[in-house]
């Protein structure tokens, strides 16, 4: 068994953690860059327990695994990095792009729609050349689809299949979710069928995405569709109709950020040639406490966040001046010499 593992590069594994607004994803990647195991959890506003639950689940499934490197990404990446002990902390754009290029080296466009944000990444010859993220408005992201599915009493998992049954999709205003909702209610009261309304909603969201996030971007095939919303086949079809080209959904579409983080960790650890900073799976049992206070040393009144593990402070951030971050290093007794993974951004 050991030999088989060696032969497939399975004696080394890399862990990717993507803490997003809606979901927290963990991926175990083989040394060869293949997804060996994945965990998709709801963040539910509590990112630390979500990371711990994910680690506990991995340990249950793969008790003998040895992690050689850890990467963290997502809007909660700093928190995840502090909790798990990450070797590299990367933004979501770079992580998603890295995963996309690994899956399809010929990718030229990545559409990523998550719970509360959406992005577009343009690549040429494996290099990111342009990107954009949604700005002030979360219209056209997964949360809205969730909300509308719930309103219609449809499980979100069935949403896409039902939309595909549409014969005559209705026209729905996609500019703003408030208007989209009232439009949908209007169409429903006029007697249009649910499949036609859902297909219309998908088309509206795709138009909204292309007009806002994708504005002015040179969208060319191969197009990859990533993020939780890619599970919705109605959305895939709406994108294909609008773009006039096939849209590829990678098998690990819902955890591509974590895959990218693990890939970047693999590269980073190999380049640096040092051991991992991973705190081990035991931390799923550790007691993490977070606290915050408002610093009153200047008029900025920064909100300082404190993270402690089993009563010992492990990270602190939030000050504009950096005063409190330095205090954290002092608490470690290392006088700020320790290279924090966060500074490797």
């Amino acid at each position: 068994m050991a030999n088989v593992k060696e032969a497939h590069g399975l004696h080394e594994f890399y862990l990717g953690i993507d803490v997003g607004s809606v979901s927290t994803n963990l991926v175990v990647l083989t040394g060869a860059g293949e997804v060996y195991h994945k965990e998709y959890l709801r963040t539910k506003g509590r990112p630390i327990p979500a990371v711990q639950a994910g680690l506990a689940a991995i340990q249950r499934e793969l008790p003998d695994i040895r992690i050689k490197g850890v990467g963290a990404t997502g809007s909660g990446r700093r928190l995840a990095a502090a909790v798990a002990g990450a070797d590299i902390v990367k933004n979501e754009i770079t992580a998603h792009a890295a995963a996309a290029v690994c899956f399809r080296p010929d990718v030229q466009t990545v559409i990523e729609i998550g719970g509360q944000d959406s992005k577009i990444i343009i690549l040429r010859e494996g290099i990111v050349t342009d990107f954009a993220m949604n700005t002030v408005c979360a219209a056209g992201t997964g949360s809205f689809l969730d909300q509308q599915a719930a309103r219609l009493g449809i499980p979100i998992a069935d949403f896409g299949e039902i939309a595909l049954q549409a014969k005559n999709p209705v026209r729905i205003a996609g500019r703003c979710t408030v208007f989209a909702e009232s439009d949908m209610i209007h169409k429903q009261q006029m007697g249009h069928g649910i499949p036609d309304i859902l297909a219309g909603l998908c088309a509206a969201m795709v138009r909204n995405y292309l007009n806002n996030v994708g504005k002015g971007k040179d969208i060319r095939p191969t197009v990859l569709f990533q993020g939780g919303v890619a599970a919705n086949r109605g959305m895939c079809k709406a994108f294909e109709d609008e773009l006039g080209c096939p849209v590829v959904v990678p098998p690990a579409f819902d955890v591509m950020g974590a895959v990218g983080a693990a890939l970047l960790a693999r590269r980073h650890v190999k380049e640096r040639g040092q051991g991992t900073s991973f705190r081990g799976f035991g931390i799923s049992q550790a007691q993490y406490t977070t606290g915050s206070f408002e610093c009153s040393l200047c008029a900025n009144h920064c909100e300082i966040v404190n993270i402690s593990m089993d009563g010992k402070p492990i990270a602190r951030w939030g000050s504009r001046c950096g005063r409190w971050e330095q205090a954290e290093d002092a608490a470690d007794g290392q006088g700020g010499r320790r290279a924090s993974p966060v500074s490797a951004l």
Partner: protein
């Protein structure tokens, strides 16, 4: 004379502070400048300002309020309409003295000379004379103060053109330099675009400049480019851009594409009227002229820095990644 004149550290301050400071102080006025923008100042500004204005105007209200609470006798608040022939400043500047008076009423005396050089540059001198006479000075004293002030302003502008930041000018000679030096030699050059009151206000721009420098980038501003080159580049645009700041931004964008820089970042405040057009023109010009990546960073009164940080990091990653090819 013993009169304390307050200057809000906001909006046109970031362009003309040396001129104002030397003019007023050589007339003998004691100056009080509000501190750099802080959360408290932004909160106060948001509370006081009209809802529909841009973030920089809200920040301005916060600074005025700070000065009034500090007990200044009067506040220097010129009515800027035009600072160059056939050019205009954003219309909000034109109405600023009225908006401020409406919000603060009689809590302070506002010194508001009208700066309108669309037709005649000579008008400025007459207005400044009015300011000086209002403070009780003779025409000769005023002329002398004005000459000194203009020299200080020229000095400041040439200092910035040498690749320096305003913070470095303000603490020239001091032991501590406010602008942090990036670790090691920068390997990327990023051209920054945006109004000075956004770019130079580190709170409003969420420390974008320091963050970029900490990531190892050399950051250029419009003020670091030669005004002659900027003007020549801006003149290439088929229709005359008549907003002074927009014109400089557009010219600088064109200049950046020819230098060239590795990337261009346009920092714009949510709700900025002139940028809604300028940013669009810049984006198209850069795309047509070059393959230089660009990022438009929209800022508003959010304190959540995650969005800004993610975009800056991803942008810098992208620039470095491109180079490995």
């Amino acid at each position: 004379m013993g009169t304390i004149v307050g200057i809000p550290r906001a909006l046109a301050y970031h362009d003309y502070f040396p001129l104002w400071k030397v003019f007023l102080s050589s007339l003998g006025a004691e100056l009080a400048v509000s501190p750099p923008t802080s959360r408290a100042i932004v909160n106060e500004g948001v509370r006081l300002a009209v809802d529909g204005t841009c973030l920089p105007v809200k920040i301005f209200y916060g600074h005025v309020s700070w000065l009034i609470q500090a007990g200044v006798d009067s506040i220097f608040l010129p009515r800027l309409i035009s600072v160059a022939p056939k050019e205009y400043i954003c219309p909000k500047f034109m109405g600023l003295p009225d908006m401020t008076a409406a919000a603060f009423g009689s809590q302070a005396r506002f010194i508001s000379p009208v700066v309108n050089l669309t037709r005649s540059p000579g008008l400025l001198h007459r207005e400044m004379e009015g300011v000086g006479k209002g403070l009780g000075y003779s025409a000769r004293e005023i002329r002398k103060a004005w000459d000194q002030a203009a020299a200080a302003q020229r000095d400041y502008e040439s200092f910035l053109q040498q690749g320096n930041w305003p913070a470095e000018y303000h603490c020239r000679g001091a032991t501590e330099v406010a602008v942090d030096k990036p670790p090691g030699a920068p390997d990327l050059r990023i051209g920054l675009l945006g109004h000075n009151y956004v770019v130079y206000d580190s709170f409003a721009s969420m420390d974008a400049v320091s963050r970029l420098r900490a990531m190892g980038a050399q950051v250029l501003t419009v003020d670091m480019l030669s005004p002659v080159k900027i003007e020549a580049q801006a003149a290439r645009w088929p229709k005359r851009m008549f907003w002074t700041s927009g014109r400089r931004i557009l010219g600088a964008a064109w200049e950046y594409t020819e230098m060239p820089v590795d990337g261009i970042i346009y920092i714009t405040a949510f709700g900025c009227g002139t940028d809604s057009l300028t940013a669009e023109l810049v984006e198209r010009t850069v795309r047509r002229q070059s393959r230089i990546p660009q990022l438009i960073l929209n800022i508003d009164e959010h304190t959540g820095e995650a969005g800004v940080v993610t975009r800056l990091e991803a942008f810098v990653d992208m620039l470095r990644w491109r180079r490995t090819r």
